[in-house]
């Protein structure tokens, strides 16, 4: 038991050492003439405009939240699956109830449009995509 996890620990160290050896070899063999232009950030050949560390679209956060909920549920499912055969029908029914509750959540998120990449179905703060669409309709673009 401990030997298995010891192996994993040793593999982590070994993998890190292998990568370091490769980087060290590159340091020995490869030329190194850093210059300001070479070290500038790539932006299609233009001068980079500002930093990339900006506020990001909220949709990634929503997806992370949904993922978190379902991932926790998957963690619950693993031990349940292992003992499923011993518990039989009771386990199936109980997990069924649990999953139905979660599925109501998924249906809610789906209906609210949070699973859509571009969220158009919103009640308040309709967002810029909607405004663009409305403007386009108004000015007949």
């Amino acid at each position: 038991m401990y030997r298995e996890y010891g192996t994993v620990l040793a593999f982590i160290l070994l993998g890190a050492i292998l990568l370091m050896v490769a980087l060290w070899l590159q340091k020995l063999l490869a030329p190194s003439h850093p210059s300001k232009l070479k070290q500038s950030t790539y932006e299609c050949g233009e001068e980079p405009e500002g930093s990339a560390w900006v506020q990001f679209n909220i949709r990634f956060y929503v997806i992370a939240l949904i993922f978190l909920i379902f991932d926790v549920e998957v963690v619950f499912l693993f031990p349940w699956a292992v003992v499923f055969k011993d518990l039989g029908l009771l386990a199936l029914v109980e997990m069924g109830i649990f999953l139905v509750i979660l599925f109501v959540g998924l249906a809610y998120v789906w209906r609210k449009g949070d699973l859509d990449w571009v969220k158009l179905r919103v009640k308040f703060a309709r967002g810029r995509y909607h405004r663009i669409a409305e403007n386009n309709a108004k000015h007949k673009v």
């Binding site: 590159q26 070290q39 991932d71 199936l92 999953l99 599925f103 990449w117």
Partner: protein, 361 residues
């Protein structure tokens, strides 16, 4: 278990004076170098094969090694070896605007996440480095570790393309992780164990007297689970048609835009290692692992290794076939496939498998 066997072997040889800790370290180094060799050789061969497959599918001839200078062998066989050497002598550039520490750390995390997953893969009856009782769970947990490295790489580069690529990539990988895990649970229901060898052993014999008793053929629900897992697996390895994170035409090179030389090579290496792991898990869980397709024919240690590797290579080739057949999905389509198609499908599949296993007993 191979590590125990290696320790005994070291202790019995003239290196016996090392004692248990020394023998353990030596055994791990031997096994680790073997795995690293497998990863590197697999990447080199797979890149060559991929280029050739792509070329043949598009009516070209692919790398032939006819250029001046380094001659890349007959039919370009040494093309990827030459590429690897080129990467080794390339200048290592870290952008001045990047977060240096995280930039250096990212390849380590991504590569280690893929590297240590190999520990639990059963290559044959007796060839598994660490035979965990939670083997499958371990592989899933460890291989999802790479997302952190990916996000780090994108963030640390301080490049808009990198950040976009990393965010999309992370969103994609975490979205597809759930259908993949749930489709695997459908099989665990039937086996009642997370041990990789136990899952393999549950697939010996035949169904209906003709087909091998693999989980793809055992019942309709595990049959469907295989396809759900494989599609999600392709998405998790960021390959076409799910290669939005590195969509060349939109995002330059995605999260590794700013990386060059060996650091880039390790990103590439871990991508191919991830392919191997996804296919390896699919083989163990659905395709009978190291078992022969015709029960009783060509069994044993060496043949076990042969069958396992053969099945993995077969699935890798299918991945390549898919890559060069389908166009890339759009981001919103990608999310739809995961959350609105694969996830409900995987859930109903899980229930079906549960009812099937109760009904049969």
């Amino acid at each position: 278990m191979t590590i125990t066997w290696l320790i005994e072997w070291v202790n019995d040889s003239w290196l016996g004076f090392l004692g248990l800790p020394g023998a353990f370290i030596l055994a791990v180094i031997i096994a680790g170098l073997a795995i690293f060799g497998l990863v590197a050789v697999h990447a080199i061969v797979a890149v060559y094969v991929e280029r050739k497959v792509a070329a043949f599918m598009q009516d070209r001839i692919g790398p032939m090694g006819q250029g001046p200078g380094l001659h890349a062998g007959k039919w370009g066989l040494l093309q990827t070896v030459a590429d690897a050497l080129k990467l080794l002598v390339k200048e290592d550039i870290i952008p001045a605007a990047a977060d240096r520490k995280l930039f250096v750390l990212a390849p380590f995390i991504l590569f280690l996440g893929a590297f240590i997953a190999f520990v639990a893969l059963p290559f044959s009856e007796s060839l598994v480095l660490a035979d965990f009782n939670v083997g499958l769970f371990y592989i899933l947990a460890v291989s999802s570790f790479g997302v952190i490295g990916l996000i780090l790489a994108g963030w640390a580069s301080n490049n808009k393309w990198s950040l976009y690529g990393a965010m999309r990539s992370a969103a994609q990988i975490i979205s597809y992780e759930i259908p993949a895990a749930i489709s695997l649970i459908a099989v665990i229901l039937l086996v009642g164990s997370l041990n990789m060898q136990a899952i393999t052993s549950a697939q010996s014999g035949t169904v209906w007297g003709i087909l091998p008793n693999w989980f793809v053929f055992q019942n309709p629900f595990t049959f469907m689970a295989f396809f759900i897992y494989f599609i999600a697996g392709i998405a998790e390895t960021n390959r076409t048609p799910f290669d939005i994170p590195e969509a060349e035409s939109e995002l330059v090179a995605g999260f590794h835009t700013e990386y060059s030389g060996m650091r880039w090579a390790f990103f590439f290496l871990s991508e191919y290692a991830n392919m191997f792991i996804v296919c390896g898990v699919a083989v163990v869980v659905f395709l009978g692992g190291w078992q022969s397709p015709i029960p009783g024919l060509m069994t044993g240690r060496i043949w076990g290794l042969f069958w396992f590797m053969g099945k993995v290579v077969f699935l890798v080739l299918i991945m390549m076939w898919i890559r060069w057949t389908f166009p890339r999905l759009r981001v919103d389509q990608l999310m739809n496939v995961s959350w609105k198609v694969l996830l409900p499908l995987a859930f109903f599949n899980l229930f079906g498998a549960g009812i099937w296993s109760l009904w049969l007993d």
